[in-house]
């Protein structure tokens, strides 16, 4: 618990003065709550009782001084004064309450948003080793719900824990003014409660942990179902998926059941303690009254105080319990935020030149004991055109990602313009690549916004220019809303080939010195593909081009072709050289020419 408080403090540091203001105002509220009965006591003792013929008594009310000097039978005057006092107390309560909560929300939500900001930024900038440890549901919970729970520690649970302490002290003081010995009683009460509370808090924490975990799983399951709806429907598995979902939902329910039962049980225990103490206090009160040590008015307020002191003790323990949900959320949130990212930090701050020359020496990538890339030696001068081929899973994408720091190199070294890879800033390395990936992920936005992802402020003509190079213009301009047509997440609404073209246009707009196309023309027919390459030859011929593909025809003119198998380069050279070797490349090329890819899409 202390760790979370320490971590969250850096956000809530600014909030501390407000925090104390809130406690102070809370004090004001509770003071008015305490003082209200005092006014009532006086009304009973000095207005009603005398009016009924009894003697006006009571000398323990705080407001006595206001009415002391009014003659006993001027009821209306006394009542008038007391009414004004009461109304003032109510107004003070309103004002203090309103200010307390409004400022509390204001600063609380600001701090919460700061935590959210940091969480989202960490997600965006952390290396994949860290992100891959979390499910999407977990990440969403960390950036969305956990900050809220942590904020509640400062906005609600902590202040609510402090106020009872203050109230109890004041109430004890008030009670002791009636009769000193009585003050012992609340303290005894406190001891009883605290004995039970330690266990309560610990178990509450476990419960909140379970509840959070089951909710995260539910989250993940729901997201996947929504994303995978096409597959689910294609196999008519709606029922099946609903069953899977229900299992998760069931876990959530069970966790909440356990929590509910747990709280009912502790309600019982605390209630029992409270009632026993109440009965005892009645007995005490009666005893004192019949020994003329307490007035009737004091009797009533004494009981009221005892009841509320008990209530405040219970409230205090419940607040400590509720605080545990903030502790659980805080732990997850800060574990994530504080997770060291040695990968991200191993990079320097250098910027890459506009015409980078890249060199790989003995480069290898091993992930989880699995060697994905082995001993790659490659020179890529600026402007080179390199073709990469290989069977599924042979390491093509791994190489392309490793060049962009999207995957960590575990053996060998990469240099850019002669300098070590790690001397550069990671984001600057990424900035020098225009990357069109195999799986196209588009955002729910217009076609234009998607193409202009790198630079949303670019003028529309630029967007159309790159769209034309990527052969997007021919279909986008024919849509009723043209480039403003909205496409959903994952690009639903476009065919596979259209999506790939948008992804290519998106990459080209970035205008980086190195263009990487990772099997991103697989859904295009040869004609469209060659049109795109032709366009690119015209508009970006001086840039470095790295193309991974299954179609030999696409990379025939490359300066160097690499054939990968099981993570290593097994053949390399120009097209002519490789054909002369008559090895695997030649096989593939021959296979494919007799059956070219053909119109489509």
């Amino acid at each position: 618990m202390l760790e979370v408080l320490k971590d969250s403090l850096r956000y809530f540091k600014k909030y501390i003065p407000v925090f104390f203001l809130c406690v102070f105002l809370g004090l004001g509220m509770t003071i008015t709550m305490i003082l209200e009965p005092q006014v009532i006591t006086l009304i009973v003792d000095r207005v009603i009782t005398p009016a009924l013929g009894g003697e006006s008594t009571s000398d323990s009310s705080v407001f006595l001084f206001l009415v002391k000097n009014i003659p006993a039978d001027h009821y209306w005057q006394t009542l008038g004064v007391l009414i004004m006092v009461f109304v003032v107390l109510i107004l003070i309560y309103f004002v203090t309450f309103y200010i307390r909560w409004n400022t509390s929300h204001y600063f609380g939500v600001k701090c919460e948003n700061a935590m959210r900001r940091d969480a989202v930024n960490k997600i965006n900038s952390a290396s994949s080793t860290i992100i891959n440890q979390y499910t999407s549901g977990e990440l969403l919970t960390i950036s969305n719900s956990d900050p809220q729970q942590v904020k509640d520690i400062y906005m609600m649970y902590l202040p609510f824990s402090i106020e009872p302490i203050i109230y109890i002290s004041l109430a004890v003081y008030t009670v002791s003014r009636m009769n000193l010995t009585l003050a012992v009683f609340p303290i005894v009460t406190g001891v009883f409660y605290l004995l039970v509370t330690r266990r309560y808090i610990r178990e509450t924490r476990h419960m909140y942990n379970d509840i959070r975990n089951t909710n995260v799983d539910l989250n993940t399951e729901t997201q996947e179902s929504i994303y995978g709806i096409r597959t689910i429907k294609a196999y008519a598995k709606e029922e099946f998926q609903a069953e899977k979902f229900n299992l998760r939902s069931e876990e959530v329910r069970k966790a909440l059941f356990r929590f509910g039962d747990f709280r009912a049980w502790y309600n019982l225990i605390y209630g029992g303690i409270q009632n026993v103490l109440y009965i005892i206090s009645i007995i005490l009160g009666i005893t004192l009254a019949v020994h003329f040590k307490m007035t009737n008015g004091e009797f009533t307020s004494f009981l009221a105080y005892m009841m509320s002191i008990s209530g405040y003790f219970i409230g205090f323990t419940y607040q400590l319990g509720a605080l545990q949900s903030g502790v659980i959320s805080g732990k997850r949130l800060f574990d994530f935020l504080n997770m060291p990212d040695p990968v991200a930090e191993s990079y320097g701050a250098g910027t890459v030149s506009k015409k980078p020359a890249i060199e790989l020496q003995g480069v290898g990538v091993t992930v989880d004991g699995h060697q994905l890339l082995k001993d790659v030696n490659l020179t890529i001068p600026y402007g080179a055109k390199i073709g990469i081929m290989g069977s599924t899973g042979s390491g093509k994408s791994v190489l392309l990602k490793a060049l962009q720091t999207l995957v960590e190199v575990t053996e060998g070294e990469i240099t850019i313009d002669g300098r070590q890879f790690k001397e550069y800033s990671r984001s600057e390395i990424i900035r020098s690549y225009s990357y069109a990936m195999q799986d196209v992920f588009l955002f729910s936005n217009s076609i234009e916004a998607n193409i202009a992802l790198y630079n949303p402020d670019v003028p529309s003509e630029e967007v159309v220019k790159y769209a034309s190079i990527a052969e997007v213009n021919e279909f986008a301009s024919s849509f009723p809303e043209g480039y403003q047509s909205l496409i959903g997440e994952k690009g639903f609404g476009l065919s596979g080939g259209q999506k790939q073209r948008v992804a290519i246009a998106r990459a080209l707009l970035k205008d980086a010195p190195v263009i990487v196309l990772d099997d991103c023309t697989s859904a295009l027919d040869m004609e469209t593909e060659s049109k795109i390459f032709k366009n690119m030859k015209k508009h970006c011929k001086e840039k470095t081009l790295l193309v991974a593909t299954h179609r030999a025809s696409a990379i025939k003119d490359a300066d160097e072709i690499l054939l990968f198998e099981n993570g290593s380069i097994v053949e390399r050279g120009t097209h002519e050289e490789l054909m002369k070797i008559n090895g695997r490349y030649a096989d593939i090329y021959n296979l494919q020419t007799g059956e070219e890819v053909f119109v489509n899409e």
Binding site: E36, I40, I48, A51, L79, F86, L91, F94, F97, N102, V109, K110, V120, I123, N124, T135, S136, L139, T222, Q223, E224, Y227, G228, I229, T231, K233, E238, F240, A242, F245, R253, L256, D261, A264, G271, G272, Y278, I283, A289, F292, F299, T300, H370, G390, S391, T392, G393, I430, S444, N445, P456, F475, G493, S495, G496, S522, H550, I588, F598, N600
Partner: protein, 596 residues
């Protein structure tokens, strides 16, 4: 198609009405008996809680000294009163225990059921629903909005009933004790209720706005997380940070506007209630005493004030319930929006199960558009014999994927019909249709879990052996065996550990396991390398031999081997025939092939 994006608030079609509340409460109907039990417990509790006031009065009147003198038999009276009091307290904590436990269970059960219904209904909705708004906004309906409603069932429902009963009981008690005081109190509460009503309406509006802004932000973050690779590759971190900040700020402002009303509600109602139940009461009491001193005793007054406090607390609690429910009306609006959206594609009332088919497919005058105006297909007629392999070619947007979508009835035709073995696909159950028509789409979606479970997805009752065999057939076995835990390797839905081609192979294995009678392949091998594809091709030929299949393909070899080729253009089938026939035609197909 209208689409809601992350930065736009969703417009609510049906704003909250009591009809919704009624429907919500209908979930509680089946627990009627339990609720009645709980209410009895709570009523008992409330009745019991009325008694101490009188006991208190009795103590003051009969036990405590009056005018400086001890009362007769005060000790015996005290013992009796205290015994009664103690038993009452005992009963109360027991009834509290059961009522809390039961209502929490009840509330969570009902939320579970609402969630179940919501999800099940969501699964029935068509792609148009999913495409019309960001995932995050659909997500919050299922996760957050339903759990927030739990409060209604755990506490509010019973509390409202109890509060009302309590208020009535207290008022009646007061009436019996002194009717003049009761009347005054009732009259004073009326203007108060009016103020509360107005505040609640305002609260509702502001709560809706706040929730909309929150779901905008959630949608953005959800998409951010899912598209994280692209965001990194395009150096979008700073920009996305800005957008997130803007969304947060908008939410913050809406939240503060909401808070301004929300936090005024409590002290306002608190203050007014206390003034009415204390000041007003005593003032009226004083008037009565002065006019008619004997008509009111201190004991009665004290009892009345105690009952008044209880009335006031019940009233205050009721106000708070309304306050809370007002903030939950948005939840209800969104939840019912889903539940009330009719899926466009659903089983007709007399839908029957399609029996085992042989695979004869007919399209009769099939006409289709996504939006009712731009027709993709117009009066298409097609007869496919069972076992035929049909290749579909044509320019972009001509309607190739559309035909696929229609055959599986992902969308309904505008007019015309599609028959399989003579059965109109509109009249058979969707489940029986899609079991026998297998589609492999371009999009490979894998679920987080083990690889073998992903394969088994298409046929949950398949054995491990059957799954592995399916994987072997598509040559996926090789790469799976190389994974750390083979078939039991856990992947995440993003499945970034696997390459595109590997994922496509898994998708293929799924299809092969399902073994449908009609197979539709939409760019099924686009990401697979040539050599693997070669191997698969042989398998595919075998698989497709006695099955009707539709293939949207690139490769000339696949197309050449098809029994028939359909060239789709201009909303219809422009050319139809096998490769030789179409080449001789020297038409559009010929032109395409001849280019190479």
């Amino acid at each position: 198609m209208s689409r809601n994006l992350y930065f736009e608030d969703e417009v609510v079609k049906n704003s909250f009405n009591f009809h919704m509340l009624g429907k919500l409460f209908s979930y509680a109907k089946k627990y009627k008996k339990t609720y009645i039990f709980v209410i009895i417990l709570l009523v008992t509790n409330s009745i019991l809680s009325l008694i101490p006031a009188s006991l208190n009065a009795k103590i003051i009147n009969d036990v405590l000294p009056f005018n400086g003198r001890l009362q007769d038999n005060y000790f015996r009276t005290a013992v009796i009163i205290l015994s009664i009091w103690a038993s009452i307290l005992c009963c109360q904590i027991i009834t509290n225990y059961f009522s809390t436990k039961v209502t929490t269970r009840l509330g969570n059960s009902i939320v579970y059921e609402i969630r179940q219904d919501l999800f099940r209904h969501l699964m029935k909705l068509g792609f148009d629903y999913y495409d019309s708004r960001p995932t995050g906004k659909i997500l919050v309906r299922i996760t957050n909005y339903t759990s927030e409603i739990a409060d209604i069932f755990v506490g509010h429902l019973t509390t409202i009933i109890i509060n009302v009963l309590m208020m009535v009981a207290c008022l009646i008690s007061i009436c019996f004790m002194d009717i003049r005081l009761a009347v005054v109190v009732i009259l004073a509460e009326i203007p108060f209720s009016l103020i509360v009503w107005l505040l609640v309406r305002e609260l509702q509006k502001r709560a809706r706005l706040t929730k909309n802004k929150a779901s905008n932000r959630t949608a953005f973050v959800a998409e951010d997380i899912n598209g994280i690779e692209v965001i990194k590759a395009f150096n979008r971190e700073k920009l996305n940070e800005q957008i997130h900040e803007e969304l947060s700020t908008k939410h913050f402002r809406a939240h503060m506007r909401f808070t301004n009303v929300n936090e005024a509600f409590y002290p306002l109602s608190h203050g007014v209630i206390r003034i009415i139940s204390n000041i007003l009461l005593y003032t009226v009491a004083l008037v009565i005493i002065i006019k008619n001193p004997t008509s009111l005793t201190l004991g009665v007054l004290v009892s009345v004030t105690t009952y008044m406090q209880m009335f006031a607390e019940a009233l205050f609690s009721l106000c708070q319930r309304f306050q809370n429910i007002a903030t939950l009306t948005t939840n209800m609006e969104r939840i019912f929006e889903v539940l009330e959206t009719e899926p466009k594609v659903k089983d007709s009332e007399d839908a029957y199960e399609m029996p085992e088919i042989k695979g004869k497919v007919s399209l009769r005058n099939a006409t289709f558009s996504y939006d009712g105006t731009n027709y993709i297909l117009e009066k298409v007629n097609l007869e496919v014999e069972s076992g035929e392999t049909i290749a579909i070619v044509g320019p972009t947007g001509a309607g190739k994927t559309t035909i696929v979508n229609l055959l599986s009835r992902f969308y309904n035709l505008d007019s015309g019909e599609i028959l399989i073995d003579g059965h109109n696909i509109n009249q058979v159950t969707l489940k029986s249709l899609r079991r026998q028509v297998g589609v492999m789409m371009q999009d490979t979606f894998l679920f987080s879990g083990e690889i073998i479970e992903n394969i088994r997805f298409s046929k949950p009752e398949a054995t491990d052996e059957e799954c592995i065999n399916a994987a072997k057939k598509v040559y996926a076995d090789d790469f799976i065996q190389k994974l750390p835990e083979g078939y039991h390797t856990k992947i995440k839905s993003a499945a970034s550990e696997l390459s595109s081609g590997e994922r496509q192979l898994l998708s293929f294995a799924r299809l092969v396991l399902a073994d449908p009678k009609i197979i539709i392949l939409d760019e099924a091998t686009s990401n697979i390398d040539t050599q693997t594809e070669r191997k698969i091709q042989a398998m595919m030929e075998h698989v497709l031999k006695n099955r009707t299949s539709f293939i949207i393909a690139h490769r000339l070899s696949t197309i050449k081997n098809a029994d028939r080729i359909l060239y789709i253009e201009d909303k219809n089938i422009a050319e139809s025939g096998n490769h030789e026939e179409l080449m001789q035609l020297k038409g559009k197909y010929y032109e395409l092939v001849a280019k190479h």
